[in-house]
Amino acid sequence: MSRTIKGQSGEWEIVIGMEVHAQVLSRAKLFSGASTEFGAEPNSQVSFVDAGMPGMLPVINEKCIEQAVRTGLGLKAKINRRSIFDRKNYFYPDLPSGYQISQYKDPIVGEGEVTIDLKDGESIKVGIERLHLEQDAGKSLHDQSPDNSFVDLNRAGVALMEIVTKPHMRSSEEAAAFLRKLRAIVRYLGTCDGNMDEGSMRADVNVSVCRPGGYEEFRKTGSFKSLGIRCEIKNVNSMRFIAQAVEYEARRQVDLLEEGGTVRQETRLFDARLGETRSMRGKEEAHDYRYFPDPDLLPLELEQDWIDSIAQSLPELPDEKRARFIAQGLSPYDASVLVAERELADFYEDLAKGVDAKAAVNWLNNEILGRLNRDGLSIAQIPVPAAANNAIIQMVADGTISGKIAKDLLDIVWAEGGDPREVVDKRGLRQVTDTGAIDAAIEKVIAANPAKVEEIKLKPKLAGWFVGQVMKETGGKASPAAVNAALKIRLNLPDEG
């Protein structure tokens, strides 16, 4: 996927910005005490405030504010000590008050930055324009009855963070990488579960195209005139769809421009089934939301000490963790893969305790991830805990078992459970380094294959065959190094040159 797209008349650059709605992880809603749990019976988690009953007033849930600040800090963004909640007015049956409480001119979080690492090892910075808090709406259900629409207000009033980027992404790959990185950050922070299937993270993607050089000009001058007219694509709710939507939309705009047309600033809907975008409403049909400060809520003022205490409680974030892993000897690629999911990184850290980092990451990549994938499990569901895997790696390192036995051992504990060290003892899987036992096995193999013994004197390369036979004789438990050494002496083989 490249940053340009080829048209009849030459190259075009793709420029992408994003608005991500991330549901705040909190037990209660933004302005009421009702529960936010997903999947409850319709309208079972609705307070009088959420239902917009007469005389009901919003009261800010401090936990949601803390989560927004935490996210802002994780995005290396400016925390605005004074922010204002505004009303965004429009009529819709799943919007009980007839307005959504949001933040318009004075958001809680200002400019920040996210670094994304691309496959080719390049990393780019995507600017964050702002983050603001707002209420989610309820859900209209049109497919329950031929005559009626139903409304479920469980989601109404749940806190969302709207995170707006600058137009700093240049390809569908970068857009998807940004969203993955953002998801990793909020998951590390514990401020959003990042679950796109349940809609707790949703993205609107802004796409425009311009002639080569336009983007660089924009970065230099900050003038949006250097960029093309953008379209906002709504409802892009998976990583895969982002790539599809961007590719489709960029192509559509290039074709339009090359036919002599102009791109209309509009909101478009992504149809995942057809893999295309289609017009929802133009700029001129855009709602007039009549924003004004919500008189039921005072301006939100934050103490610097409180912000500082949240800053001090932040966990190690993906970028820092990645740097640490690289310093421990991992390749940048391995480090990036590990930190993408906090659970994977945590598992790795337990796995690598007291063993060689490279050995641990190889074990993870070659043995664990394959088995998880085969069984359709996530790292959190792994049947063999990190400590048990760590024990296996240690046993290989100190020569207790061979690499081959290690894989068999993992299969055993994966299927049956148990402590790997006990399994090794009970099943006699310990690597044989006892020269007596190895010598006995060698004699047995020599006695059974006199012809081969003659042959090897002429063809020393046949030694490998002998090693295999001896290993077989010992049930794979013999140390290959010890077998090699003993064979060399017994058969009087020359040193390999």
């Binding site: 009088f48 009953m53 007469p54 005389g55 009261v59 009529f91 009980p96 007839g98 008189p295 039921d296």
Partner: protein, 493 residues
């Protein structure tokens, strides 16, 4: 029994304490008076049965030695306060059958203090009006009539049912709400006392919202002392209202006692309007002398942005109202148009049929001033003016403790006299809206009668959260005015 209903709240409290009367007897007397006064149309919902139950419960509590601050005292509640299990309409067809499953903080405070609810009083629809004529439940008639006249007059508004009920002895006192003068103006034209507390003093939780940054509940009573007693119970610090002040509630009855010697009283010169009636100017001058005679210092002050107050108010209040009233859409509760053919039709007809003309006018104004391209010219400038108006008061209060003004530009007018010209109606609030815009406390005290025998009020304005001083000054005016007149009870004839 008629002597029972003419008691003040404080007198009734004494009579109950002395066991001269029970809450049931007192309540029954008011229930009879309310039934007899139905021609006034002061109540939208009478709650006689509930009142007697509450009275009996109160008598039991008293017998057990458990006596609240308002124990057994029957009150009327403006129909803007949500009352759990009792219909709350805001005098609108759109909430005509709405029964809240929750109680407003202010009324809960009253019931917790032992008070008894007689019913829900009539008002202008969603508190939008100054004459009680916009009510979907019909106008309220002022108990007062001009001397020798049978013409029905308005009781003021929007708390017109409450003012009429207090003036006609249909309750000991009542609650009102005041967004631009809705407590003080009706009090003034009915010869009663009406207090709008500092914004944030009484919780707005459970009060049907009109303009959130201006709305404030307050007492309407027969005397200043009664207003002080009632406010002490109505006010509270409420975590359910983010704009509720975190200032402890003092005992206003205690604070209002004492002399006003040395009190600095400002007379804002900008309140002297061209063409003001001589009745009003004479009363205003008299008010100043009354205070001076009791040891106060009187001097002129300037509130230079006063002339912008009404236009500012009629941008800010409708803007907030247009948004606050969006929830009445026929979807979840309240009036719904029959057989809508789609969602837009449901909205348009439910709201078109459910809201009255004045409410629709204000929603239109509010929507307009918030619209793209007009916001800066109207709403944004109005907010700036509001800041300037607030600053005017701050500067004036550096020099004085209270301000004295008329409450209204005139006495009660005839039903229908001003309904054809909304601007003339809006002028009723010219002396009161400034106080809401600045969030300050204001009180209207009966000062005297016009030549035609209709009551007029004087307004005192105080510093934020200084209701104590305000009430003390009001008591001084009350003492000097010695207003004893009562309307003739023509409705019982």
């Amino acid at each position: 029994m008629s002597d029972l209903i003419s008691l003040t709240l404080a007198e009734a409290r004494e009579a109950l304490t002395a066991k001269e009367v029970s809450s049931r007897e007192l309540t029954s007397a008011f229930i009879q008076a309310i039934e007899a006064a139905r021609p006034l149309n002061a109540f939208i919902t009478e709650t006689a049965e509930k009142a007697l139950l509450m009275a009996d419960a109160s008598d039991k509590r008293r017998a057990a030695g458990n006596v609240g601050a308002l124990e057994g005292l029957p009150l009327a509640i403006k129909d803007l306060f949500c009352t759990n299990g009792t219909r709350t309409t805001a005098a609108s067809k759109i909430l005509g059958n709405f029964v809240p499953p929750y109680e407003s903080t202010v009324t809960q405070n009253l019931w917790s203090a032992g008070a008894v609810m007689l019913g829900k009083t009539n008002m202008d629809e969603f508190a939008m009006g100054s004459s009680n004529e916009t009510s979907a439940f019909g106008p309220v008639f002022n108990p007062w009539r001009s001397r020798g006249s049978n013409t029905n007059l308005v009781p003021g508004g929007s708390s017109g049912g409450s003012s009429a009920a207090v003036a006609a002895d249909l309750c000991l006192a009542a609650t009102g709400t005041d967004t631009g003068g809705s407590i003080r103006q009706p009090a003034a034209v009915t010869g009663t006392v009406g207090l709008k507390p500092t914004y944030g003093r009484c919780s707005r939780y459970g009060i049907v919202a009109f303009a959130s940054s201006l709305d404030q509940a307050g007492p309407m009573a027969k005397t200043v002392k009664d207003a002080a007693i009632l406010l002490t119970s109505m006010a509270s610090i409420d975590p359910r209202d983010s704009t509720s002040a975190e200032t402890a509630v003092p005992d206003y009855e205690k604070l209002m006692a004492g002399s006003i010697r040395g009190l600095r009283v400002g007379i804002p010169k900008e309140y002297r309007l061209d063409g003001m009636s001589t009745d009003i100017t004479a009363l205003w001058d008299k008010g100043g002398r009354w205070l001076k005679d009791q040891g106060a210092e009187i001097f002129e002050v300037s509130l230079p942005h006063t002339k912008y107050a009404l236009p500012t108010y009629y941008i800010v209040a409708p803007a907030e109202a247009s948004s606050n009233l969006a929830r009445y859409d026929g979807v979840r509760f309240g009036y719904r148009a029959s057989n809508p053919h789609d969602i837009t039709d449901l909205y348009e007809r439910s709201r078109g049929e459910g809201f009255g003309a004045e409410v629709q006018r204000r929603i239109l104004i509010g929507t307009y001033v918030l619209s793209a391209g007009y916001y800066d010219a109207y709403y944004s400038r109005a907010q700036k003016l509001r800041t300037l108006i607030k600053r005017d008061f701050e500067q004036a209060f550096e020099k004085c403790d209270v301000l004295l003004t008329p409450s209204t530009p005139g006495a009660a007018f005839g039903i229908g006299a001003k309904t054809s010209d909304p601007l003339e109606m809006y002028l009723q609030d010219v002396f009161t809206v400034t106080v809401n815009l600045a969030g300050l406390p204001g009180i209207s005290i009966p000062g005297g009668l016009t030549a035609d025998g209709l009551p007029l009020g004087l307004q005192l304005i105080g510093k934020a959260f200084d209701e104590g001083t305000l009430l003390r000054a009001a008591a001084a005016v009350e003492t000097a005015a010695d207003f004893k007149a009562k309307p003739a009870k023509w409705w019982t004839a």
